[in-house]
């Protein structure tokens, strides 16, 4: 075959390709319709997840929430929701939304009973940043949420355990809180108020579902005396300060505090 015999072929293919691209890009360009939520831009996808959580908080229909989340196909969706709750709370989104996300995260990531409380968390679990890591100056009081997730109905919570934990030298000392209902199950989305001489803050249970639905923590700073309150109950712990633990060989470190609030069994 002579080289001039190839010319019509090459010209035809070239023109055909150009025509195809012209058709695809200019005449009949792709229109983004009929997409599904997984294709959403990251910020819209987070809004979508938050909306799923808000709808779940409104209806309490976990099965429907799971069906809606199934489209995302993520295995650790509970952790994603928990992290998103913290992120949104820190970014000033409505508190109700963060609580809804925390509530759904807790509902999805139920901790097996008997899992030990540990500041190091479940082995292999992704560390989740606490809501607030350091005490902050006093802020203008914020309006409290008009609607809260309702804890298990029952008697008011009482402080049932207060213990200094000297087992985790590596992490900053924390106030660890467990809120349990009358049957011993963790209660998510419970607000805990903490006050010190230069300010106050709030944090919520259930934002670290891998540590339990009723778990919350707060990083303690040296030199402060804290008061911890579980709103809506008579439970109040005052004068909570860092205390040193013996690290052996003459060394010391600051221990963490564990507070367990429980509803008395009827």
């Amino acid at each position: 075959m002579r080289s001039s015999d190839w010319f019509p072929w090459i010209l035809g293919v070239g023109v055909g390709l150009l025509a195809g691209v012209f058709y695809a890009w200019r005449v009949n360009p792709v229109s983004y319709t009929q997409t599904d939520p997984t294709s959403l831009r990251a910020d819209f996808r987070m809004d979508y997840l938050a909306l799923i959580a808000s709808a779940h908080a409104g209806t309490g229909d976990l099965g429907r929430a799971q069906a809606r989340l199934a489209v995302f196909g993520a295995e650790a969706i509970g952790e994603t929701l928990g992290a998103l709750a913290q992120q949104r709370l820190a970014s000033g989104y409505p508190e109700a939304e963060a609580r809804a996300l925390a509530g759904l995260a807790a509902a999805l990531g139920e901790r097996p009973s008997g899992l030990p409380l540990s500041t190091t968390g479940t082995p292999g679990a992704t560390p989740v940043r606490p809501i607030t890591s350091t005490p902050r100056p006093v802020r203008t009081p914020q309006a409290t949420s008009t609607r809260a997730l309702t804890p298990t109905p029952g008697a008011p919570f009482q402080l049932t355990r207060q213990q200094l934990l000297c087992e985790a030298e590596a992490v900053p000392p924390r106030l660890q809180v467990q809120v349990l209902d009358a049957s011993g199950r963790g209660v998510p989305a419970m607000e805990i108020r903490i006050i010190w001489d230069q300010g106050s803050d709030r944090f919520f249970t259930g934002l670290k579902p891998e540590l339990g639905a009723g778990y919350a923590d707060f990083t303690l700073q040296p030199g402060f005396a804290y008061t911890v309150e579980l709103p809506g109950s008579s439970a109040l712990v005052t004068g909570l300060e860092l205390e040193t633990c013996d690290a052996g060989q003459g060394g010391t470190f600051d221990g963490s505090w564990l507070l367990v609030f429980s509803q008395p069994a009827r």
């Binding site: 015999d5 010319f7 019509p8 072929w9 090459i10 010209l11 035809g12 293919v13 070239g14 023109v15 055909g16 390709l17 150009l18 025509a19 195809g20 691209v21 695809a24 792709v30 983004y32 319709t33 009929q34 997409t35 599904d36 939520p37 294709s39 959403l40 831009r41 990251a42 819209f44 809004d47 979508y48 909306l51 799923i52 808000s54 709808a55 908080a57 409104g58 209806t59 809606r68 409505p94 109700a96 008009t146 609607r147």
Partner: protein, 119 residues
């Protein structure tokens, strides 16, 4: 010339076929970074339903409108009505329809009344 045209046309057809094969099979379009207004009708309807369910608990119409705004520039009421229509056509439960309808009623109450045209 008589031999040129058939070869050219055959090449053209091959080129087009190759382009379509590449665009549709080898490297198909992937939808990423889209906005909620591109969602399929099924998901749009579910989105509106979620807004309605949340509204049922929060009773915050402003926030419901804000959430609906993500679905595009149409008035919020239109979006809810479209969702109701889809839900009816696809046999949604009466509870879901009632939830959607409650939001539609409250949005309709906000809308300015239609003024009669005077000639």
């Amino acid at each position: 010339m008589p031999r040129f045209l058939p070869r050219f046309l055959l090449g053209l057809a091959l080129g087009l076929a190759a382009g379509l094969l590449y665009g549709w099979v080898i490297q198909p379009v992937e939808y990423v970074d889209t906005a909620p207004n591109t969602l399929d009708a099924q998901y749009r309807t579910d989105y509106v339903l979620m807004v309605s369910e949340t509204y049922g608990a929060e009773r915050d119409l402003g926030r419901a409108q804000l959430r609906l705004a993500s679905l595009g520039p149409e008035p919020p009421l239109e979006k809810v009505e479209a969702a109701i229509l889809y839900a009816v056509e696809h046999g949604s439960s009466s509870d879901d329809l009632a939830t959607l309808n409650r939001l539609a009623v409250d949005l309709r109450a906000l809308s300015p009344p239609t003024q009669a045209q005077s000639s």
